[in-house]
Amino acid sequence: MPSETASCLDLWAIYPELVLAGLGLLLVPVAAFTHGRGRWRYLPGGLAFTGIVAALGLTARMLDWESQTVFCNTYALDGFAHVFKLLLLSGAGIALLAILAQFRGHNQLAHAPMALLFATLGGMGLSSALDLGLIVLFLQMLSLPSYVLVTLVRTDRASNEAVLKYFIYAAAALAVMAYGLTFLYGMTGSLELGSIGAALAGDGDRVWIVLALGLILIGYAFEMTLVPFHFWAPDVYSGAPAAVSGFVSVVPKIAGFAGFLRFVLYALPDGTGGWPMLVTLLAALTMTAGNLVALRQTHLKRLLAYSSIAQAGYILIPVAVAHEVAGAMSAVGYYLAAYLLMNLAAFSVASLWERTQGTDRLASLAGMGFRQPLPALVLALALLSLAGIPPLAGFAGKVFLLEVGLEGDLTWLVLLAAANMVLALYYYVGVIAKLYLERPAPNEEPAKAGSGVLYVATFGISTLGTLMLGVFPSLGLELTDLLRRLV
């Protein structure tokens, strides 16, 4: 196997990543050059979107490759990595459209795509990384550009506050996690997940393993927005421009799930350290707390933030049994695909509303269904899908989650999830009631016309995707079944 340094430089294995990285670097000067130059400001966005589509195509071509590791066993090239990369790239692509739509005419239009590309790259790396060093590196790579995105509107106080909170929380969480990772190195003398797993499965010291797991989990839980490490999310989502919130609610979260699954399945095989039980508890806590707090929200972005926390709780159900139930990985992947589509649909409507109305107060949505039928319909379908109503993607996703949970003997968690889904319906439908059951306030100005081509494209892709995935779940399942292929 590749012991010589020369054979470790497997650049052929990371074409999609290279495309994004090259494009990101290219965009640095291009963004500076096109900054403030009329139509040219669309160039970086266009390039970035093309790059993402190209990376999607390149990754899709790798799907039938044999599973292998490259770069001296530090980087996995398997179905798991490919599918997660496809999810991340799709999320990034749709989010990019929404961001371009929201920043149309804004002087930061040129810079946003660059940050988005680098963050996506970090997420992609995380789904492949098999080495503790790389994991830390990619986590940082995921986070730093996200800060930039959140604070794109430099004059906005809410954004600045949000980014500060984001930065401090992230720095603390990732530092604690890195500390935990050093324990693993100390116990096993290896940085490589596979060898760590082999060493720990034998006779690792349980106390230290549990301690390390606890510390490491904080970093991942931060990215996945699990309660009680979720406090940053509502503030950041509501402070950032809605389209950016959409990105932050999707790409880092998917990357977090990818990274966490990769980590526990390799470094802590067969539930070493009791991580399944820990995940089960976090799932129960996250879905319940997320939904309960969401009930009381008065602003759309905050509501979506808590909803996305609760959704993360649902996704943890199959994660908790990922090591023993065959269909678990597929259920995670499928739900993440559904989640990225429906969540981005909802956030892009919030983004349109923010752009045209300057607010995301739920009260301002009153009668939207009669004033702006298209965005209202998109939002309503997204919320119904989040609530799990057939025939939308969220429904099929929830069926798979519950099925896997029951199969893994987590009956109590499944019952709790079902109760949560009823609870969640209340606030999702509350928003829908605003859209369709209320009349617009008479003194309110009529909405500014025109949602723009970019918004229509965002709406179209995410909503049609939600419908297609829900009506024909096998389309997605064929892909997500590949998640079981691990090197």
């Binding site: 069926v399 079902a418 209340y426 009631a433 779940p473």
Partner: protein
Amino acid sequence: MLSLVIFFPLAAGLVLLVLPASRPRLVRWVALLAAVTELALTLVLLAGFNANGGLQWETDVDWIPSLGAGYSIGVTGISLPLIILTALLTAVAMVYVLPERQHTRGHAFLFLLMTTGLIGVFASRDLLLFYAFFEVGLVPMYFIIGIWGHENRRYAAIKFFLYTRAGSLAMLLSFLGLYLSSSPRTFSLDELAAQSPLSGTGAALALLGLVLGFGVKLPIFPLHNWLPDAHVEAPTEGSVLLAGAQLKMGAYGFIVVVPTLLPQATREYAPWLLAIALITLVYGALAALAQSDLKRLVAYTSVNHMGYVILGLAVWGLADDGDVRRLALNGAAVQAVSHGLLTGGLFLLVGMLQARGHTREMSRFSGLLQAAPRYSFLLAALAFGSLGLPGFSGFVAEFQVLGATVSEQLWAAAVVVLGLVIMTALFILVLVRIVMGELSLPEPNFPDLDAREAIASVPLVVLSLAIGVLPFLLLRYIDPVSQQLSTLP
């Protein structure tokens, strides 16, 4: 063909959405045309249906092969009448709303979408598909109540949504339980029936989930709480579909899905079901007696009427004699159809009263016979039908269930008769109060039934009479299915 019947309303609804909003009349007529076409399509199904031929008009294609769920549809002798009933009531509703002008496109779309969901439920032979259609049938009603309803519509709409959703999630978990214990794993109704995978506690829990899911829709006591609010607040045409067709999803579940999937568990817990049925029956009747709001009154009579459905299932579970079991299921199935016709009609008539008098208070109306004789006559017909007068479909249904109950548990039959007596008193009282007596109306101008209203309501009475006089017309489709279900262990 059956797929066409299921999805034609949806397609027509989508076409309606692109019609110009400025032409509400056009939208209304196109919607009516679509509903009538759909009714004609269901009659084509009937024409090609062989009453003794078991499952027909089948289609079975893969849907989610990795889960063993298929797009598997077909009609039986019990589902076919319910499919026709749904299409008929949709057409009736579309006739009734012809003059309404508020958001016509959305209104028609939601009704047609609901029709697709409802017919899909009755046609599904796969549990996951059944569940998906079940919810597709439910969501439009939320908007119908919430947008076109009366004063307290938002509260009623969300209550309706939450109750049904909680019930249907319980049902989903039961389905998943059945799926996981089957081998090879499948969601197919017929394969699961053949495998009968669950027993003991598992079966009991699955039965509980199904009773919760279908019980909310039927409704049974104590899960009925959403129903009066939903009915009172829903627009008239919404109430017609809610009572006439939506409750039948619960009825269909109890008559067909529960005994097919969990025959032993149903037998084991039949005494509990009997208790629920009797409480539901008497409670519905007593609660109806206490109402002064006519719409709420009719809503509670629904609770009583639907009690016969679960009573039929309970007797099916208790009885060992195949003929008794068959009689019970026949009665329950006829009740489902009959209630759709009679209560659908009653809601229409109450709606007409409200449209004229702007109130539903019973005490405000008196002496209708003098002002509106045709209306009064129709109301009397529906009331007599609902109280179970021989000659109407309700009698056929209730008599069969009662007969089966008598041969199984005499005391239970006594309780049923008590309910029957209260219902009789109730409807006679209503008639005496508002039809007879001195003329006193909330509005001086009180026109009699016009042509549109007559076209909407008379067919329901006629059909109920037809079934009442010639029960064979309906029973020849239902009986083979009941007979087959009665041979289950």
